[in-house]
Symmetry: D2
Subunit: 352 residues, 4 copies
Amino acid sequence: MTAFDHPVLSAWVDDAETGMRMGWDAELAAMLRFEIALAATQSEMGLIPADAADALRRDLDGFRPDMDGLRRGTARDGVVVPALIAQMREATGAAGRHLHHGATSQDVIDTALMLCLADLLPRFAERLGDLEDRLAALSDRWGDRPLMAVTRMRDALPITVADRIAAWSSGVRVAREQVSRVRAEDMAVQLAGPVGTLGRFGDDGPPLRAALAARLDLRDPGGAWHTERGRLCRVGSALSVCCAALGKIGADIGSMAQDGTDAVQLDGGASSSMAHKVNPVDAELLIALALHAAAQNGVLGAAALHGSERSGPAWTLEWLALPPLVRTTGGALRATERLLAAIRRMGPRAPD
Amino acid sequence: MTAFDHPVLSAWVDDAETGMRMGWDAELAAMLRFEIALAATQSEMGLIPADAADALRRDLDGFRPDMDGLRRGTARDGVVVPALIAQMREATGAAGRHLHHGATSQDVIDTALMLCLADLLPRFAERLGDLEDRLAALSDRWGDRPLMAVTRMRDALPITVADRIAAWSSGVRVAREQVSRVRAEDMAVQLAGPVGTLGRFGDDGPPLRAALAARLDLRDPGGAWHTERGRLCRVGSALSVCCAALGKIGADIGSMAQDGTDAVQLDGGASSSMAHKVNPVDAELLIALALHAAAQNGVLGAAALHGSERSGPAWTLEWLALPPLVRTTGGALRATERLLAAIRRMGPRAPD
Amino acid sequence: MTAFDHPVLSAWVDDAETGMRMGWDAELAAMLRFEIALAATQSEMGLIPADAADALRRDLDGFRPDMDGLRRGTARDGVVVPALIAQMREATGAAGRHLHHGATSQDVIDTALMLCLADLLPRFAERLGDLEDRLAALSDRWGDRPLMAVTRMRDALPITVADRIAAWSSGVRVAREQVSRVRAEDMAVQLAGPVGTLGRFGDDGPPLRAALAARLDLRDPGGAWHTERGRLCRVGSALSVCCAALGKIGADIGSMAQDGTDAVQLDGGASSSMAHKVNPVDAELLIALALHAAAQNGVLGAAALHGSERSGPAWTLEWLALPPLVRTTGGALRATERLLAAIRRMGPRAPD
Amino acid sequence: MTAFDHPVLSAWVDDAETGMRMGWDAELAAMLRFEIALAATQSEMGLIPADAADALRRDLDGFRPDMDGLRRGTARDGVVVPALIAQMREATGAAGRHLHHGATSQDVIDTALMLCLADLLPRFAERLGDLEDRLAALSDRWGDRPLMAVTRMRDALPITVADRIAAWSSGVRVAREQVSRVRAEDMAVQLAGPVGTLGRFGDDGPPLRAALAARLDLRDPGGAWHTERGRLCRVGSALSVCCAALGKIGADIGSMAQDGTDAVQLDGGASSSMAHKVNPVDAELLIALALHAAAQNGVLGAAALHGSERSGPAWTLEWLALPPLVRTTGGALRATERLLAAIRRMGPRAPD
């Protein structure tokens, strides 16, 4: 089991909301939404019969795929779409042949990913905003207490708790802005057809893509991004920045909780062998998640190297790298929420 | 969902056997086995009452943990062991207080990991050996056919199919030897107590550890390896080497399957938009898995940097990195098995 | 020798201009510029005597450091600044004590890095723009020739050379926009003092930082970014995206140059053993550089995890990761320039 | 400038001996040694005229290449060998045509790398052994002093300085054993010819390779390893393990030096703004180097994925990844040597 799907460990490292918004149900819903929206747009533009979209929508209402079939198909095709489309066509009547018209598997998968991210990233931004509020409240409560600044692992000069929290808030704000920006700028529809040229539609191609983008509340990328994955790199970078910002909070609270420093008091984790200890395990987790996120972002960067009109290896590597990065970020948000909520005191034990 | 636990994608990228041998049931069984074996050894050595081990074994027969409790405990403690031990003690009578005697959470988790790996790695080695057999059979069948060697992306000089397969076999053999070696040399018990000194046991400590190792069919490491993770780095390196060797087979078969080369014919995957195509998706997958494995091995190396007597961040990072690396390797084995089985022809379409 | 500073290999993998703009002479000049500008701004604001800045500028005109002294100081202090400031003070008269007033080592190093990047990134953007022009010219010359699209390692449907070049151009344009954006938005002064609070200056701190930023043509970050390295992550992401875009050109040209495809003809590299071969070595290099850049960007992300008010390990890791990433990007630009210039034909050997 | 070749920073992060043993002069000497040994072996076996090797050795005595020519050749060929061989042939008389007989560029480069590593790794092992001696001496001097064990960032139970040093020694010993093992087992000659089959030599091929290996004091790999890079992965893993072990010493000493702990006293680095501070900069450096090494080892693993008979991208990526990893290890050794030498006290300030 990877940690995020582990029946026990996930309770600590994972975030349920993130798992849900990026999970299979969300993916499937997004793929169906793409196909329905594509047909609706094509019906409106006269590219498929005017009543085909309605028929498809009606026929596919309540569609539940045969999972075994999807698994068999994915193992054969390296992507779920051919099997899914086949099942969808079976679930529809005559209109089925208008489904997925002119689209390719990557159009479905990439757009569905964008739809899921477009749903998730605003929640990440909101939760980062909530963390800023909590940090502000902590600063209000404890900010004027003295703290010894530490630079290069040594005590430096006196600062206040507010000074240190200000650095955390700055990091969280930057992360929120980055996440919001990629949501606003980089969530684009993919509609480019088998070889990226949207060729079947001739002059209708660009307006079709634009109209589909509008319908799905995504951006019109102005062309194919089958092999141009910069937008995913920007998502990855924002998430990595986010995990680093939260990781710093963890690193600092972990240090502040050390017995020799005792500049924070936490509720927290137990030891199986030393009953007196309260381990700052969420602080530790945040450090681990930040390092993990950075590495997965590196893999995502490698996955951005595509060849020809569609690179199976690169695209697959992206599927291996992005979900853990997203889950890591969700887990870091959750751990930070827990950690800040566990703070009982900041600054010296006996206030000045 | 990460790809390995994804309800659909896992059918392609994952290997069920690997998931099972490294899954929660296996982990739990290994943790129970550690605790029972520890008690048995301690009973024999007179460190706990002579009948305590039998009582514990009897009381824990059929023990099934309360998963919600384990999840709550793990979220609180950053490790499942305190909650698990508490549940185990509840399931036992008076002997319960002799459970986990002198051990720490990391002793349980690390040893359980070793037990799972010790179970899995021989299977990896066997499957690599089977692949060598399949390669030998392919070489027997098609080996004398001509092939154009390719160096630095250009045709070089004529070789034979046997020459290319020999390079694959060499890689698989090296991988098998590496995997076998880490199984033989690096699977060690962990028993070092709260701060790595096995302190509670005095002079009985080293013989206790040695006897426990023997009972669990693991090596006696001669000391603590709470913070010395070289053995896991060696496991990681072997798995990364394995994925690279299998990735080469994928890369080569993918190239050979290209239309301009046509030096292999495969059964295989479909396109949602181009019915005529057979995509070498397992070949592509192997390339992606090799790059993924290498990166996860890099993360595992970062996780080897521990501080003090137990580093929560480093240990947690290891939990994030190692399972995907193991699953990636399992997936690569499975993909190679499928890919080699899908070969219908090697060498030119019309044999010389 | 690392490849970028290797006396022979650098001729292939490195870009001289990048090495120069990020080299020691540029760094030293930027550090001097920071100190002079800081003094000038402080003189204007009355924070140091009005004539101190002029005296410092005069005394430091033509300043050349004692390199052995800098090396000894850096080995002792983990950063060059204390030794450099001491040498600069020796080179100045009474005004020397006003040098570096209220600043800390990280202010100097970080701002100097920003100044170097602010000088380099526009050149990267220009060169990317030039590559777009070259691609446009190639498309004009060869674009209407037929090409077989390749998806998932198999021939897909006919496209044109122009279609494939359009994908390259799209990637290069996106890279150029990213690089330009980080230049425009993320190049900020660092002035925060020993513990990030700019404390010595009280209410004068923020206007001092703003005025210094203006004088250096950098942005005012509105606070310390000693431990908030998001801007460097964005630089890293832009460079990684850039290398991926150029890497795709390499991967595609390498594939097109294959003997079975022969869709491009290149001038190029020789083999020591096979005189008939022309190896597309710059195409290969671009693939390697893209993978390398992605990994270094991952390291840069790990370096973004800071602790306390200044993390020596994180900052040092940044120094290890960023320069190779920058050099890799320079090398990729240079290799692409060479590769596109080496194209003699695109599309089939005998034009349709 | 990358840090290892930086005129100032290298004084801190680099190790001069490592730079020298892996530097250009060493590389060139190793390539010449390969060619001379190849000719000598071929003369003995009658594969080239009996006097050719002597003539070549004589003619090449004192050979110094034209560096500009090598740079031009490398930029053209993606490898130095064709230009180097051409220059060597110009420097020799009639025997020149027997130079490099049946070998390919990769044979020269790979074997030269092995020769350099075979020279360097024993020094690494020796220096690790010296560190073990220093640790033993520190343990003798300070080992009985009390120390508070720290697990999961919290004080755990009392141990002694000797206990902590024992963990360091264990890591260094394991690293030394790993380094020694790869030196003993993995340093192999490469001689496989243009396409890895050693084809030109027929039945003489294997004995030629074996004799050459013996002459160069390398192992006979029993075949080509042009595309099977497991031995380099094992080198990389050993170096990564080494850096982690040394990084732990750095992490621990950095923590022990903290003001709230004060369990070690060091000579050390200054701050440009806070004269009272002594920064444990070598401790910090060791942490950074360990994380850097782990990541470069990940890149090396990616470089192990070769395609066809010689993959230019993979081979080039190896050249980008391995030297920084080696240099990082050298730097970590040097930093540990400095750090241990700087220890003035371990344990509490006032001894018990």
